[in-house]
Amino acid sequence: MADLGGLSGTGTASQPGLRGLQTEKELKYYTATQAQLIWWRFKKHRLALLGTSILAIFLIIVLFANFISPMDPFTRNSNYIFGPPQKLHFIDEEGTFHLRPFVYGVTNELDPETFQFNTVEDTSQAYPVQFFIKGDPYKLWGIIRTDIHLFGVEDGFLHLLGTDKLGRDLLSRAFFATRTSLTIGVIGMLFTFFLGLIIGGISGFFGGRVDDITQRLIEFTRSIPDLPLLMALAASLPKEWSPLRVYFSITFILALLGWTNLARRVRSKLLSLREADFIIAAKIAGSSDARIIMRHMLPSFMSYIIVDLSISFPYMIIAETSLSFIGLGLRPPVISWGVLLNESQNIKAISQHPWLFSPVVFVILAVLAFNFVGDGIRDAADPYAT
């Protein structure tokens, strides 16, 4: 008996119309659509739920980066270069509790002897955190011109993750980096994914001549060496393109080259499935090709594809920085996770400015969330499995 997705019956009410089914819950289970079954099963996977909520937060960050960032990611606070994260306080010097958190004013001065910044909190100046506050102007989605930020302080400054070598707010930069890395990375990844899925699917399902032609195409594509091609691209891409645009087109081109592996795997899986009893049954029952692929074949190896996807995600982030050595990766002034982490890769950051590593948390969360969600979907994708 299949796991009933947490619905296995304890109730006693009987349903006379349906033979052998004891409870309303069981009834519900057996009449549910596949999507419902997947959702029920997915809900049981707590980590997957957690991952989903993290991804939801990331989605909000991606969509509203300008709004939730306390300031513009390029605004320099020259009074607070390499400033450590400011502490949020609820209780002031006198021990009074404030519902509205506040930060103290901070001075950050360079010691001419040791070349270290001395950070001193000035407890006489408290800046309460305010919401929907006016700050650096920006254009939301390139359309709406406004200067309202989700939170911030008046007069003073608020750097909850500290600042970098130019005194730029690290939290804001991390938000913008999330936007860049997630959108470009995910778009490139999805593009590869769909190309591989569709071409591999066609090849494996139809077989014969179609398969032959597709396989030769794959072999041809695979024979194109990546590095010389990328170097040629580096030289030929219009120089007036911004690094972001260059990187986006490179991920696009990489996707055009990179679908072959997935296509091969999808094809071989389909070739073996094609002969399976339930497919033959579906064919005899008169299902269309599209229905057979989408309805019967894809779900049966979905779990595999999902693992593939969630594993390839971290590679995307790494690729972002590794491409830079031929001038195609993301480099400042573009803000991305790779760029932020590159800036923290030195002894100085470890020993003096450890907060520069804070964007790592975003990367770890994103990678874990993708893996959890992938794991959850994989389990849920086959709701009849034991």
Binding site: R76, L110, E113, T114, Q116, K239, P333, I347, K348, S351
Partner: protein, 708 residues
């Protein structure tokens, strides 16, 4: 007591005044102060006793130092003496001593056989006597240095054992005898004479004579197989210099045109102007008709290839044991991880107490491929001396660990021209060229820069904000106003100038348009080797604030150079190397188009350079003023250093730069943090840290020692 002091002082004064009349002028050494003449005298050395001349023969020489001259007056040259000169001045007789044992590998690697002859036979008859900076050192110890890799980032290690005919003294101005005993130019700088030391020997005990210099020049440099064209260093007035042996210790060089820069070049260069003839003649086809067979037997194509296995201008290009050297330390051990050089038993320098130098038993050069690893090695106290590859931004970490690493950080200035920008004045796009070639544009761009902030962010405020002039402010004829012109932060005036130039139209984002209505975007393509890219992030913002849109793009050094060498760049931003007096004088590259280190890293004016080099056959004819500049610099090159003409021509050159804004300066090259281990003695305050004067050489590393 008082009387005796006075008497001593008077006697000294007499000796000193006699000396002043007897010897050459031009010494920067401070006059011996009277209090020092009568000051306390250490027990191991006897004071100068001019009253009893009969006894002087037996009196041991005072172990004077730069810090405490012990009454010995300054000689012809700062901080060093000829043996007889010192004995006369100190009224003493020097007796020599040396370390007991030398590195055993000197024997196993084929330099030496059997017992060493006594010290008196190993030293020249006329050894060079140097005053240590602080104290007479003790023998022993290893100087631990680190570089990026074999032949990579290791000029400071090479300089620590380097010898040349002459070298710069630590005032960076006086050229003092070194391997040569003396030098002399004739009045119009067309002849230069070097006198060597009698009895000077190579590290294998073979005599070093004028023949070794003649062999180096006539048979190596002028050999067309070894050097298909004579290197430009040795060419004056279009002809290679000519060399003549007067006797075993005298050599005379003749030039077709005045060559006042040659002595400077020899003093600051990494090239050693002598090779051991007795060793190399076996490899040379003109001396050994079978040289080609020897080379083939060794697995190489011909004698030239084989010769280069043992010889190179860069002094660690050989990886072979047993080549005779004059250097203080000789290669005895080499692996892929380190190199060890051991003290040369035939080294020609002694200290004022008669101890043969060097004090250091060994110099060890380790390799660390990464700057971060070098920093870690410094922090953990594994390095005795380091400045190459250490930047100002490493200071917080290095400063924090001075105690655990047992070192001191010195902060001498560098001698480079600093970080500069040039808008390509010979741009291929005629519209951009017209804008970029207009000095008003560069002036506006200069005023738009907030140099104080740049200084804070990149240099902890330790650099000097300055305008772009390819002449270092320390150069004798430099005008202070060159460096101060238009360096204030004044975006309003910058905007006014740009408006006045007709760049008034703006796009929706507030960026200025080109006069033809096209978008005006300047691409700042840079490579990290040219310096911290943060500078470009900052300047992008300053320039965008006055409406000039900048796009940044990072590429590799090779890509950057390809771009600039074919004149396809908008902005030149590569660093310009040596601009200190010795370099601008002997090789004024940055003052001429394309205003960079070389044609490879052009700032602007590449086509002018091509025109000039091809005598008008290719490239583009430069404007009159640039042609005038080229003539001016050519004229200036053959003037006598520090002469009136030298100063006025040099100043005119600087004025032309100041007017034309070919270079926009930001901050001067930052101080060069120099790590000196506390266990290292006799290292003075480093005044300039630069390859221009060959790193450590002016600070006489042969008298450094390990205190423990």
């Amino acid at each position: 007591m008082y009387k005796k002091t006075l008497f001593r002082f008077l006697a000294l004064l007499i000796v000193f005044s006699m000396l002043l009349t007897a010897c050459k002028p031009s010494t920067e050494e401070p006059v011996v102060e009277p209090t020092e003449g009568g000051g306390p005298v250490p027990t191991e050395a006897k004071p100068v006793e001019p009253t009893e001349p009969s006894e002087t023969e037996e009196v041991a020489c005072p172990a004077s130092t730069v810090a405490d001259p012990m009454g010995v007056p300054a000689g012809t040259w700062p901080q060093q003496y000829e043996l007889t000169e010192y004995e006369e001045l100190a009224n003493c007789k020097m007796s020599f001593s040396s370390r007991e044992e030398f590195h055993p590998d000197l024997w196993t690697h084929g330099f030496l056989e059997g017992d060493l002859p006594p010290l008196e036979e190993r030293l020249p008859a006329e050894p060079l006597v140097v005053q240590p900076y602080d104290e007479i050192g003790n023998y022993g110890g290893t100087l631990r240095m680190v570089s990026i890799g074999p032949e990579g980032g290791n000029s400071e290690h090479l300089s620590a054992k380097h010898v040349s005919l002459v070298r710069f003294s630590d005032d960076h101005k006086t050229i003092v005898p070194f391997v040569a005993k003396s030098y002399e130019y004739n009045d119009d700088f067309t002849e230069l004479t070097f006198v060597l030391r009698k009895g000077h020997k190579w590290s294998d005990g073979h005599p070093f004579t004028a023949d070794d210099i003649l062999f180096w020049y006539n048979d190596v440099i002028l050999n067309e197989e070894l050097y298909p064209s004579t290197p430009s260093y040795w060419v004056f007035g279009g002809e290679p210099m000519r060399m003549e042996k007067i006797d075993d210790v005298t050599i005379k060089i003749y030039f077709a045109a005045p060559a006042p820069g040659l002595l400077t070049f020899i003093a600051r260069s990494w090239i050693q102007t002598f090779v051991p003839k007795h060793y190399f003649e076996k490899l040379h086809i003109e001396y050994n008709p079978e040289a080609n067979d020897v080379a083939v037997a060794a697995g190489l194509a011909n004698w030239v290839e084989y010769f280069y296995k043992f010889h190179g201008d860069w002094q660690d290009s050989y990886h072979v044991y047993g080549i005779p050297k004059l250097e203080s330390h000789i290669l005895v051990d080499e692996t892929t991880e380190y190199k060890i050089h051991a003290a040369n038993p035939y080294f020609f320098i002694v200290d004022t107490a008669g101890n043969q130098l060097p004090y250091l038993d060994e110099q060890r050069e380790g390799y660390a491929p990464d700057k971060e690893i070098i920093e870690l090695m410094v922090i953990s106290g594994e390095v005795d001396y380091k400045s190459q590859s250490i930047g100002v931004t490493s200071l917080p970490v290095l400063q924090e660990n001075t105690e655990s690493g047992n070192y001191t950080i010195q902060m001498p200035p560098g001698a480079g021209a600093g970080r500069m920008y040039t808008f390509n004045c010979t741009h291929q796009d005629p519209v951009l060229r017209e804008i970029f070639a207009d000095p008003r544009f560069s002036r506006a761009m200069s005023l738009a820069l907030n140099r104080d902030e740049i200084n804070q962010v990149l240099c902890f405020g330790l650099c000097r904000t300055q305008q772009g002039i390819p002449i270092h402010p320390s150069v004798s004829f430099a005008k202070p106003e060159w460096y101060l012109k238009d360096i204030e932060y004044d975006p309003d005036t910058a905007n006014e100038i740009l408006d006045e130039m007709g760049l008034t139209e703006r796009d929706a984002d507030g960026f200025r348009l080109r006069p033809d209505g096209e978008p005006f975007v300047i691409y700042n393509v840079y490579c990290p080797q040219a310096g911290d890219p943060v500078l470009h992030e900052l300047t992008k913002e300053y320039w965008e604030d006055v409406g000039i849109r900048i796009e940044l793009k990072e590429v590799t050094t090779v890509n950057y150079r390809t771009l600039t060498s074919v004149n396809e760049h908008d902005i030149g931003n590569f660093h310009i190397g040596g601009t200190s007096e010795a370099v601008v004088y002997s090789n004024p590259q940055a003052m001429l188009p394309p205003f960079g280190d070389s044609a490879l890293s052009a700032m602007c004016g590449g086509p002018w350079y091509d025109w000039w080099m091809s005598d008008g056959a290719s490239g583009e004819e430069p404007p009159e003023q640039v042609k005038y500049l080229i003539d001016l610099v050519e004229q200036w090159k053959v003037t006598i250093p520090y002469s009136e003409e030298y100063v006025s021509l040099g100043q005119e050159t600087g004025d032309i730069f100041s007017e034309n804004f070919w270079l926009i300066g930001t901050i001067s090259e930052s101080p060069q943090p120099t790590i000196v281990s506390n266990r290292l003695g006799n290292v003075p305050e480093i005044k300039i840290q630069t390859f221009d004067y060959f790193r450590t050489l002016p600070y006489r590393p042969f008298q450094w020692y390990i205190k423990e």
